[in-house]
């Protein structure tokens, strides 16, 4: 071979190699770009078929991997969409709202790259749910399903949004559809929640056990299910069983704050107020969410320490004004907090806005209670009935109905409902329990 030919041969070999490698690259990359659909992530992200709570079984380890990949391939819209899901999940687990802002921007990227992609639309629904923009979430999920009818995740987020909007029949249908498409711990958890709302606590417990048993090696998923089993046990009066479940949740995931709160509620139900206070204090130190602040404040009220209670309520009220400043549309907890410990007028505003936006049993309850504290019990009663329309076994809700009926002089139903509230959950708040007993006593002395 001539020496001129030799470099030419080298060149040809190099070129052939380049061509072959590019071919391989385009194939493998095409594949990799498509692989993290939510269903894959959802199904393969650690626990099999895990959506919604635990959509991405372990975001703490999944997020860095995804971030690295997106640094290299910033146009990978599926990657951005998956990152949105992971950030939403991380925000849910850690309670760190920063991740919502990041999720929002990541979603922007994904939407710009692929405006009609089903994964992007699913991620959008997840974020809108987290932001309490449930109507937008339904429409995003609908669009995702229009593109890909077999997306279990889209159906799951649709079910969540519909539940929050009070469209329970449709919600259940969507949850069943998600479960049929891809059964797993989170679809079981959703079906369990639907049963709990209907007041079928036995079925709710059975489904949540399924969810726990299917959680595989995902600690977060296990803790989530165990915590809810604890709550179901506590509501049914099984404090020992509840303690076991909270313990199991904390053993699986020592950072799972809802389990601390559950343990505090259980301790309060046992009248072990110092244990309850200890757990609540730890919860609000780590994550001062309004609902926990109010529960701790009410614990102080029940134990006759109104100044300490006021301090907690002051923080809760700061939290409410922040929510307002941040443009949060609707806020159930604010409505209840203002009704019980703040301004009745503010409570009515919040509850009215809430009810205008969605007609769930909880927004009905909030509006009924806000009308009651404003002395408008006649208007409140229909909403109180709405709140209990599907049989939800919620002590606070049933107490509200009983209290409204008592004010309206409807002694018999009032007595029934107040007693039912005490029977369901004698520990939800010792402070509210005191109110309930006072009301019952006044009903008896007033034949």
């Amino acid at each position: 071979m001539g020496r001129l030919l030799r470099p030419a041969l080298y060149g040809a070999v190099a070129l052939a190699l380049a061509v072959a490698l590019t071919f391989v690259a385009s194939i493998t990359m095409g594949d990799a770009g498509d692989s993290p659909t939510p269903d894959r992530v959802v199904n393969g992200g650690g626990a099999p078929s895990d959506l919604g709570p635990g959509a991405i079984a372990n975001p703490a380890t999944f997020i860095p991997t995804l971030q690295n990949r997106l640094r290299r391939t910033p146009r990978d819209h599926r990657g951005w969409s998956t990152l949105v899901l992971a950030y939403v999940e991380q925000a849910r687990i850690t309670g760190d709202p920063t991740y919502y802002a990041k999720a929002d921007k990541a979603l922007d990227r994904a939407a710009r790259l692929a405006p009609e992609d089903s994964v992007m639309l699913t991620a959008s629904a997840a974020l809108e749910n987290a932001r309490h923009d449930f109507r937008a979430a339904v429409s995003s999920a609908d669009r995702a399903i229009a593109v890909n009818a077999y997306s279990a995740a889209a159906n799951a987020y649709r079910a969540d949004a519909l539940t929050e909007l009070g469209r329970y029949t449709e919600a259940r249908r969507a949850a069943v559809r998600a479960d049929n498409l891809s059964p797993g711990p989170s679809t079981f958890a959703r079906l369990s929640y639907a049963a709990e709302l209907r007041g079928d606590l036995g079925e709710a417990t059975r489904l949540m056990q399924l969810s726990r048993d299917a959680s595989g090696n995902s600690a977060a998923s296990f803790a989530f299910a165990a915590y809810h089993l604890g709550e179901l046990a506590r509501i049914q009066g099984d404090l020992r069983g509840a303690a076991r479940q909270y313990g199991a949740a904390l053993e699986a995931d020592p950072g799972f704050l809802p389990a601390y709160a559950g343990r505090a509620r259980m301790a309060a139900a046992r009248r072990d107020f110092s244990a309850a206070e200890k757990d609540y204090t730890e919860v609000v130190r780590r994550l001062p969410l309004q609902e926990y602040l109010v529960e701790l404040g009410e614990l102080y009220l029940a134990t006759d320490r109104p100044e300490l209670a006021d301090a907690q309520f002051a923080v809760a009220s700061a939290s409410a004004s922040l929510a307002k400043a941040n443009g949060v549309l609707v806020d159930l907890e604010t409505a209840f907090f203002e009704a019980d410990h703040g301004s009745p007028a503010a409570a009515l505003d919040a509850a009215r806005a809430e009810w205008d936006y969605r007609q769930s049993v909880f927004s009905a309850d909030a509006l009924a209670w806000a009308l009651h504290v404003n002395g408008r019990d006649a208007e409140a009663l229909p909403y109180a009935r709405q709140a209990t329309r599907i049989g939800t076994q919620d002590a606070r809700m049933i107490f509200h109905r009983g209290a409204i009926e008592a004010t309206l002089g409807m002694d018999a139903p009032a007595r029934t409902h107040l007693r039912a509230a005490l029977a369901i959950d004698n520990g939800v708040a010792p402070w509210r329990e005191g109110l309930t007993r006072d009301l019952l006593r006044s009903l008896k002395s007033n034949p």
Binding site: G2, R3, L4, R6, P7, Y10, G11, A14, L15, L17, A18, L21, T22, V24, A25, S26, T28, M29, A32, G33, I63, P64, T65, Q67, N68, L70, R71, R72, T73, P74, R75, D76, T94, G95, D96, P97, T98, A101, K102, K105, A106, R109, G255, E282, V284, R285, R286, L287, P288, L289, A311, A314, V315, A318, S319, S321, L322, K324, A325, N326
Partner: protein
């Protein structure tokens, strides 16, 4: 056509402007209203360890602390109340910070403590606490380990950061940065692809002696790029350009041009490849242009293949991280260079004694002194002539021998052996040289065959530039793999051209010097020139060995 080019230029300049403008978009409180953010800035001097501890407390935790601060109960946190609250708060912080120096717990004492409120969201205040903490230590001798663990705020949501600097001491090891990424909790970087810092431990090794700390510099904010190791600002700019390459053929062309420039920039940046190339080419006398082209071509081909391979590995998953491949490539590259160096060395040793056949007309000398002719640019013509002569002879060697004809024995294919001379029947060449009437002329002693050139090119291209990998992956992300290949080839061409030009420049410089010396053959510098091939060969071996060793030490095998 002109506006076309101008727009292309404008785009490139725009990309440059982006680099300057992009640093760090930061916002006041990106971490939410729930967070308690903590920072510990460690400064180790020869007699004390000081910790600047800062707490940035968002609206809700501030509200939680309000009843503790507002002792008068008037609903405001006055300056005096804040001052008296800061003391115990800093004391708590000092107790929560566990400082260990050379294995001994050293208690931190509060030097100064201050707290102030700043306006937050929704008309609510936020708190900022600043504590100067200090622990005296015995004078450091030798390397001392220092460790700081923050046990405060366990489980709180927030940004947790530590930095460490030496003041008259040198940190030989530190697992935290010198500068704060958040400007000491004043501006948090907002990057979609990063998580809040969560650093609660710092481990340092401190050696006494070092520059005093410049307090100004200490407060500077170091922007951390979004891209990892090896990816510089130029690359980030290029990535941004790449994202827009969809927009039209013009931008595509600009991207290609940019890739050439990026490759050139990579070649100019300090690195082993250039040094070896320079040494190698400076050892050559003849056919440098052609040699440079061969080396350049091989660099481009190898580099392109390497980048594509690494790109495929990187995109296929995490089974084999590119970071693990690099050291091994470095070893391979180093060994190749050593092999080339050894071949050079052998050639140099065999040729070095010099075949001086005399100095009269019609004679020529095999020695390392070049002709003035070559220095005047006749190189190229002689290359062409040479090529013509040898094309049909089946020799593997002479491509790089522009002015002196001899044939290689097939038994020693890689190295031209000046000991074996064949008939010199090329009068034209002799005339040509004698026209210049040099006292001597050179026979190249330390040359390699194309195989050697290809080997050096392989060694140079074997280590894919991270920038090129990123560029390639960027194109894949765009869904345009072929464009990616074109970009990588352009990158390689830019790199190879620059390398070749550098090599040629070095050679020209040397020739200039030699030519000057040659005009004074009695110069005492003349002997130096004689050993140059030997020296360059040794240098190539040493550099190759260093490269291989360095690669091997980072493979984690030893």
């Amino acid at each position: 056509m002109r506006t076309w080019a101008r727009r292309a230029l404008a785009t490139l300049l725009g990309a440059g402007a982006l680099v300057v403008a992009v640093p760090n978009a930061a916002s006041a409180h990106p971490l939410g209203n729930f967070t308690v953010n903590r920072f510990s800035g460690i400064v180790v001097s020869s007699e004390a360890v000081t910790v600047e501890h800062v707490l940035d407390i968002a609206e809700i935790p501030t509200a939680q602390r309000k009843s503790a601060v507002d002792t008068s109960g008037d609903g405001t946190m006055s300056r005096a109340e804040l001052a008296s609250w800061a003391g115990p708060t800093c004391k708590d912080a000092a107790q929560a910070l566990q400082l260990t120096v050379a294995g001994n717990r050293e208690p931190l004492a509060v030097d100064t403590a201050s707290a102030r409120t700043l306006p937050g969201q929704a008309g609510l205040p936020i708190l900022r606490v600043e504590c100067e903490l200090r622990a005296g230590v015995a004078a450091l001798s030798g390397t001392t380990s220092v460790r700081l663990v923050d046990t405060g705020g366990q489980g709180e949501v927030g940004w947790k950061e530590m930095t460490a600097q030496g003041d008259g001491t040198t940190l030989t090891r530190s697992d935290v940065p010198e500068r704060s990424a958040s400007g000491r909790l004043t501006s948090y970087p907002e990057d979609l692809l990063s998580n809040p810092l969560d650093v609660l431990t710092a481990r340092l090794a401190v050696l006494p002696g070092g520059p005093a700390l410049d307090s100004e510099a200490g407060s500077a904010v170091l922007p951390s790029g979004p891209l990892g190791r090896g990816a510089d600002r130029l690359t980030s700019a290029f990535e941004r350009l790449l994202e827009r390459a969809d927009d039209g053929p013009l931008l595509g062309l600009v991207a290609l041009l940019g890739a050439v420039l990026l490759g050139a920039a990579h070649a100019v940046a300090p690195g082993h490849g250039k040094t070896i190339m320079a040494f190698y080419l400076s050892g050559r006398r003849a056919g440098a242009l052609r040699a440079a082209a061969t080396v350049g071509g091989t660099v481009t081909a190898t580099h392109t293949a390497g980048v594509l391979l690494l790109g495929v590995i990187a995109s296929a998953g995490t089974a084999l991280a590119p970071a693990e491949v690099y050291p091994w490539l470095s070893v391979a590259s180093g060994l190749l260079v050593v092999a080339v160096g050894v071949a050079l060395l052998r050639a140099a040793r065999r040729g070095a004694p010099g075949h001086t056949h005399g100095t009269g007309p019609g004679q020529h000398t095999h020695g390392p002194v070049p002709t003035a002719a070559r220095a005047r640019g006749e190189l190229v013509t002689s290359v062409a002539a040479d090529q013509g002569k040898h094309a049909g002879l089946g020799s593997t060697v002479e491509v790089t021998e522009p002015h002196h004809e001899h044939h290689e024995h097939p038994s020693s294919p890689g190295v031209s052996d000046p000991a074996h001379h064949h008939d010199h029947d090329h009068d034209r060449d002799h005339e040509h040289h004698h026209d210049q009437a040099p006292p001597e002329h050179t026979h190249e002693v330390a040359d390699l065959s194309p195989r050697g050139l290809v080997a050096i090119g392989l060694a140079g291209g074997l280590l894919p530039s991270p920038s090129a990998v990123i560029v390639f992956l960027g194109a894949l992300g765009l869904g345009r793999p072929w464009f990616g290949v074109a970009l990588v080839i352009a990158f390689g061409l830019g790199m190879a051209t620059t390398l070749a030009v550098v090599g040629l420049l070095v050679m020209r410089l040397r020739e200039r010097a030699e030519a000057r010396l040659a005009s004074r053959p009695k110069s005492r510098f003349a002997p130096i020139l004689r050993v140059i091939p030997l020296v360059t060969a040794i240098a190539v071996v040493v550099l190759g060995a260093a490269l291989a060793l360095r690669g091997f030490s980072s493979t984690g095998v030893i």
